[in-house]
């Protein structure tokens, strides 16, 4: 098996379309996918580099695997559904901590998927959300207000992430560059998303190679996941 030079991991709540995004990019098609079990990955040859792209399972059941998938990742794509604000909230609450194991200079992209449903499907999705008892209480005080995620919300999250990671905004790509709105169904922005990332990942691979084997990255200063683990099987 060819050893990948870099790793990109897709994270996000279940049903936001991670598998569909990847399928759209790799296989140029869109079809109904079943809920991902565990994870899957593709190898993409970009220039002379092999980049592995991991599709993870969004289901709570597999949440514990996230840290391992993210270990040593060069880039992480945090995915939400533009029609479900809660999916953006989940990114911060649940998924951000998984990325602690990623490479220290890991890139983050925030992707709002399903923009194709934004206009016509707004009302419908609104209704559904209103009915869902689990989400109703969370933060939707008035169901009349169009509850869709705007790009600014993603940009705000991106900046929050940089702060959380204690990274300087100046050293990282601009938020505007790293926040995408996509549609796996129509293919809107999908190529842009992946190829922008690949182009950014290549220089990182070169840098990592110059520094030595990536296995030596961060075993020593590694502690945070303790926190997430306790939440799982308690």
């Amino acid at each position: 098996m060819k050893k990948p030079d870099g790793k990109i991991v897709l994270l996000g709540d279940m049903n936001v379309g991670k598998t569909s995004l990847l399928q759209r990019y790799m296989e140029r098609r869109f079809s109904d996918t079943v809920s991902t079990v565990g994870g899957a990955f593709y190898l993409k040859q970009w220039r002379s580099y092999n980049i592995s792209i991991w599709d993870t399972a969004g289901r709570e059941q597999f949440h514990g695997l996230g840290s391992m998938y993210c270990r040593g990742a060069t880039a992480i794509i945090l995915t939400y559904d533009v029609n479900h604000p809660q999916s953006l909230v989940e990114l911060e609450d649940r998924f951000l901590s998984l990325t602690d194991t990623a490479s220290t200079d890991c890139l983050f992209a925030i992707v709002g998927n399903k923009v194709d449903l934004r206009e016509n499907g707004a009302a419908e999705s609104q209704e559904k959300e209103g009915c869902s008892p689990g989400l109703a209480g969370a933060g939707c005080a008035s169901p009349k207000v169009p509850k869709q995620v705007q790009l600014e919300d993603a940009v705000a999250l991106y900046k929050k992430i940089l702060k959380y990671k204690m990274l300087d905004e100046k050293d990282m790509p601009a938020a505007e560059q790293m926040c995408f709105e996509t549609s796996a169904k129509s293919g809107h922005n999908v190529d842009l998303l992946f190829e922008t990332l690949f182009d950014m990942v290549v220089p990182m691979i070169l840098r990592q190679r110059a520094q030595g084997p990536p296995q030596t990255v961060d075993i020593s200063n590694y502690k945070p996941p303790k926190r997430t683990k306790s939440g799982c099987c308690a």
Partner: protein
Amino acid sequence: MMSTKAFTLVSAVERELLMGDKERVNIECVECCGRNLYVGTSDCFICHFLLEEKTLPAGTATFTATKQLHRHLGFKKPVSELRAASALNRLLVLCDNSITLVNMLSLEPVPSGARIKGAMALALNENPVNGDPFCVEVCIISVKRRTIQVFMVYEDRVQIVREVSTPEQPLAVAVDGHFLCLALTTQYIILNYNTGVSQDLFPYCSEEKRPIVKRIGRQEFLLAGPGGLGMFATVAGISQRAPVHWSENVIGAAICFPYVIALDDEFITVHSMLDQQQKQTLPFKEGHILQDFEGRVIVATSKGVYILVPLPLEKQIQDLLASRRVEEALVLAKGARRNIPKEKFQVMYRRILQQAGFIQFAQLQFLEAKELFRSGQLDVRELISLYPFLLPTSSSFTRSHPPLHEYADLNQLTQGDQEKMAKCKRFLMSYLNEVRSTEVANGYKEDIDTALLKLYAEADHDSLLDLLVTENSCLLIDSAAWLEKHKKYFALGLLYHYNNQDAAAVELWVNIVNGAIHDSTRADLYEYVVDFLTYSSNQELVWKYADWVLQKSEEVGVQVFTKRPLDEQQKNSFNPDDVLTCLQKYPKALVKYLEHLVTDRGLQREEYHTHLAVLYLDEVLQHRPGASSKGAEVTETQAKLRHLLQKSDLYRVHFLMERVQRAGLPMESAILHGKLEEHEKALHILVHELKDFSAAEDYCLWRSEGRDPPYRQQLFHTLLAIYLSPGPSAPELAVAAVDLLNHHATEFDATQVLQLLPGTWSVQLLCPFLMGAMRDSIHTRRTTQVALGLAKSENLIYKYDKMKLKGSSIRLSDKKLCQVCQNPFCEPVFVRYPNGGLVHTHCATSRHTNPSSPSPGART
């Protein structure tokens, strides 16, 4: 999903053989090492069997086990684990929390009684850091809470080397190098027992399910994860393969590359590590042990032992190919790369690629097929041979055996569907065109090019001609028959030409032009033939068809003689006399050819020049009566005639003069007079007969070309004299004279002219002439003065030199020696060189060069 048959399940040890009639005894553990199979039972027995593998004619393997020994360990506890250490000839037996060493054959405990106490579970390090071959490294989960111990086990002693404590109670362990992979109570971790550094993998819940920790290769483990996942993890805590999806209640896992095998209550499932897909499911009830031992996978229920026999990889791949599962077959084949010797693998893999290519081809997936054929280095003839009649009859090709596909030919493959057939043909065309210039074609160029020619001809494809006019290896006999069949006669001609049969080629083309056979490939075929003959080095062929091309068109046809390549003209060219004889019947062609000889090739032979002039003349005369109607053409010929008469010096002037005069062509006679230096006659004709004064001037210029100025002056004076001579048209001529003088002032000797001119002419009238003459005269005077001045100064320089040389006196004494012979001067006679050197006169005559200085003129 369609399933693959990767394994067959065969029985190894029947229950009767194992425990006879003891109903309640169960199998607790198994170990297999080479042909030795060990079974540990619940009643504290170890049984040793020898396995014998037999392959049935059908290709499936069977095993028979022969019981060797059985031995009771002397406890009342079940034997919980067995591990063979063949290098030590020892079996490690875990029973009642204690590991004892027994002889592998006698099953007797080692005399030393060495044992490891307080062990709950053990794992052998298959990738030990210690290089000692007579020692195995064993990790145990100690009965001490949260403790792992590492032992070195020798033939008859054990030695603890490390004890590490773990954050939680360990439940299962596997080891690779320094790395322990542990299932703790709530999570899996990697622990480096050398450094103590640990790395969390992922959480799981030990209360809900039994953990599985299985080393699958260097630095990689397989773990049972949440939701029935088989997770892969490296010692760095990274997953490099996607997980496989088992059932929730999986009990055990084993590896038999490229498969991951899992056991649950009801089934044995087989997943591929290459694509993570489930490949096979075997029903198997009440299984509780699944382990692999050096590639042999053993499953056991509590009563019997079974072996999962892998089907040979090639068989699996062929099965996949047979069910058109190309992708999977290729993945499987590629995955087998490291398990098969390189050469063998390459041969096998190439063949699989080729087979896969034909499967894609049959489904008209041409892009995929092409890639597979290319990477599989397919002998192109395999593909060509699918198409009826394409391979040359002389080809020695036979299809590979066993066949790469099941099709007799394209008709069978497409089941007569014409559209599909056409698609297949188009594909072959593009494919052959691509490969013909690559190394794929090496050795089969004839077969490929001939097949390509046939396809092109059949499809009426433009590239047919390109193929034939460029370097190709089309076989003549096969191709010719095919082209004839498809009425591609022009192309056939090209083929003949390529095979150095130009005569056949031209004959064919001539027949097409003549309409004897039909082929509309080229509308300009006649011109093509002319061109072909022009560049053909075969003179015989040109002569053969010379009449034909000339009869078609004299002007075009004559090109076979006039446009021949330059390099050929220089050596063995056609004899012009032969050509002229041939062209006698074709006047237009004759003129063209003579023009070619005279003008283009500049042949200096009187006959050609005279002949051409006569032909021009004839034509001029011929058109004369109807001069008004065909004016333009006549003047064109006439212009050519005049040009020839003027430029050429080779024709017979007198001969032509006679004819020209008889024909009454004044201009031409003037030119001829000019040639004879009869300028007065010529000018007379021009001035008096033709009254063409500019022609007269031009005549003067023409005839004086390249002559000295006096000659030129003479000519102009002659003309002037004619103008000024008294006659009936004197006033008109006077004007011409004035113009002549004014235009060519410098061509005259002004003093002479002034004497000739009538006194009545005003200065005004001759102003430009006079001014020109004056300016000329002044200019001459001034240049002469300059020359005079320069000459004087030059003279002065010489005088100065002479004075200097003469200036000083020379004293001749006894002390002065001749510079040549170094003797004193005896007489008062000497020679002095410009540099002052003195020599004897006789020395100077014998030596012409200056004795002591590099050059006689140099001054020192």
